[in-house]
Symmetry: C2
Subunit: 428 residues, 2 copies
């Protein structure tokens, strides 16, 4: 019985998790695929560094060529992260006929098309379940579970750091800056949190999910992105009062063969299943024409959940290898991408204004909405006794983004409005 | 390009949904599998009956042999339901080398082992995603997504009728009998609701899920079952007061290579993701050693969600067919089943007692718990001014089921306890 040989690029917490699972579940895995699975070589930066996972030092190498050009190795598992040199290693490994399992969302979001093309040319598998929502098998579900349905909407809480911060702000009434600091101390946020809090990480994941869900090559530039750093305690409080939780949602929609993808803080109705996804958990909500509403919930990151997804992908690759069918089920976009213009994208809006507290102001404001044909669901006026400003909270009916921009531009010119405090998309 | 020919057993709402999806998405499907998929023959009881789906009358047949013995047909989709004649048809179709897609939970729960054995012998695929939680791809997830993990717990809200009833009781304070009647009028509950409300339907689904999740042939007899018909408004009210929602949960657990499976009304902590699964929706919560907590949420039934799952299975079968690998990935249990005894199953309990309202009663009761080594998390005494009885609500710490039985038997003998009103398992 020929064993399957795996080369591992990287031995951080995720790589170590993969080693542990393959070791601990060797018997189970062998029963599933019919061959032993052997971690043959592991690329590290320093062979002599002490580690908390037990790997034979003879298997460690500092030379990537020992893996990507090693004729013994069948499958390369990439857990280094970052664009380069991971991209070059993967493309070279594919050129050598090796199958790839990767957890690299940045790489798949930015260069997925190029990698999948090379894989198809070489008849190789590239699996990347762990790149989005580590512990949730959402990529497999999009490719296989909904293969006969037409998806209309994918909404995801796909960044654990920002969801942790927003959950804390909501549950404990703490300010953004304070929670961020705490999250950094706990290791839930990076020292430079920009990629998380400004929505870029979520945008990359939405790029991957919408490419799969809508069968079109979506690129990162197609995603309009806004982060969470401007959210105030006041926004969260007023949201709650009206029955909403603020979540950083990635929203990908498809109608009439054209799509829109955004990542932005969104007021989610508390009765919607996404509203109760708290802490570092991730969830992906999928709406299909036939299936209706579904949601997949689980850990978004963490060494063991991510490693579990990687090993599940490894099992799938090895099964294909034994069956001689690698590269045959790989994803190829069948739709030509058409991105919606602002005029074609409609949703409800939550708007918080600070205005002069005098008669007739509300009428002036509602008139502006009417002028641009934005109709209103509710208006809440809230006099603030400590100063001469009043607060007005407006929920619109579905309004297209172009009209809403005009309304907000008009507001900027009005003396009675002192500040457009917040504007949020509303869902659920 | 040879087309793939499908025989459909049954043309009710689900069967009609399959016909509609295959028709509407013919181009998509063809792109995915590389061949046209043709519904060749449909078994019906009456060819001449008028229908709201458009099927050529020449394709309709009243003779099952036109499908199961038809050499033209590659895949048989069974959506008749019930044990017989579905079982005989499927076994005969398998004997003729046809692949099977079925939505039949009763058949798979009771005779799954026999059917899978025949399929393995013939090198045929049997896919049955739609048999559990129609719109949720949970079976694929258990087989593939968690293939390298060791699952410790599967908890499911897998019966939409009972979840609808309990949601109504909880949200509107309506009594069981009244909601059941309304559910029957709305078509959410059968005229004879026994199989749903007594937990049997859920037990069948848990049999299927635990067989897959624990890699062992679980049979329906291994499941201990209790239904929802005894739940009172009072139980729901006190549950809420203590932070719980009552749900009919299927709970399958695995520890130290032995398993336990129950279906019973359970007090679920409101912070647990299962607590907010409402109405006819289903959800399956899975805990794995490596992945941690995940949950899959979606419609449990309905013609289109179920038909979507069936067509996704059909796509998988056809892909395998084109690759020549049918029957190779089929599930075979690798574990010997060991069912836990009552002494080995521990959980928290919620107990509601009606007692004499006099001094010393509480001490007598807590003493009984101590005698059988059941420790308590909280005790709430609630005098009822309108009569001489008091109510006591007790939440235990984890206690094994054998000890709890002894406590309850002892309670039966005590004069100060007038009624053991309710006993529920507690989770979350």
């Amino acid at each position: 019985m020929k064993s399957i040989k795996v080369g591992l690029l990287g031995l951080g917490t995720v790589g170590s998790g993969v080693v542990r699972i393959v070791e601990k579940h060797q018997n189970d895995l062998q029963q599933q695929v019919g061959s032993p699975i052997i971690i043959e070589k592991v690329l590290v930066q320093d062979r002599l560094k002490s580690r908390d996972v037990n790997v034979d030092i003879l298997k460690l190498t500092e030379d990537p060529s020992d893996i990507i050009n090693n004729p013994e190795i069948d499958v390369v598992v990439e857990v280094m992260g970052g664009i380069q040199p991971a991209k070059s290693y993967i493309l070279e490994a594919l050129a050598n006929g090796k199958h790839i399992v990767t957890a690299n969302k940045d790489l798949m979001a930015l260069h997925g098309a190029e990698i999948m093309e090379k894989a198809a040319e070489m008849g190789c598998d590239v699996f990347y379940e762990a790149s989005v929502a580590g512990g949730i098998p959402i990529i497999r579900t999009l490719i296989e579970g909904f293969s006969s349905d037409r998806l209309t909407k994918i909404m995801g809480i796909v960044n654990g750091t920002t969801n942790y911060i927003l959950t804390k702000m909501s549950q404990e009434g703490v300010a953004y800056a304070d929670v961020l600091k705490e999250a950094q101390e706990l290791g839930y946020a990076e020292a430079d949190p920009t990629s998380d809090v400004e929505g870029l990480d979520a945008a990359r994941k939405m790029t991957i999910l919408s490419t799969l869900g809508f069968h079109a090559h979506v690129s990162l530039n197609d995603v309009s992105v806004k982060g969470i750093s401007q959210i105030t305690k006041e926004d969260i409080l007023y949201g709650k009062k009206l029955g909403y939780e603020i979540k950083l949602l990635g929203i990908a929609e498809q109608q009439d063969d054209s799509i829109s993808i955004t990542v932005e803080p969104t007021m989610v109705k508390t009765t919607h299943p996404l509203a109760s996804v708290n802490g570092v958990f991730n969830a992906v909500y999928v709406h299909g024409e036939a299936v209706g509403e579904t949601m997949f919930y689980g850990p978004g990151a963490g060494a063991m959940p991510t490693a579990t997804s990687i090993v599940a992908d490894l099992v799938a690759v090895v099964k294909n290898l034994k069956l001689g069918v690698n590269g045959l089920k790989s994803f190829a976009p069948t739709q030509v991408k058409k991105i919606k213009r602002d005029e074609e994208i409609s949703y409800k809006n939550f708007i918080l204004l600070h205005v002069e507290d005098k008669a007739g102001v509300l009428a002036q404001i509602t008139q502006v909405f009417g002028q641009y044909e934005v109709s209103l669901e509710s208006v809440l006026q809230h006099p603030n006794r400590s100063n001469p400003k009043a607060e007005i909270i407006i929920i619109t009916h579905d309004a297209n983004r172009a009209d809403m921009k005009k309304v907000l531009e008009h507001f900027e010119t009005m003396d009675v409005i002192s500040t457009i405090k917040s504007v949020y998309r509303v869902e659920g």
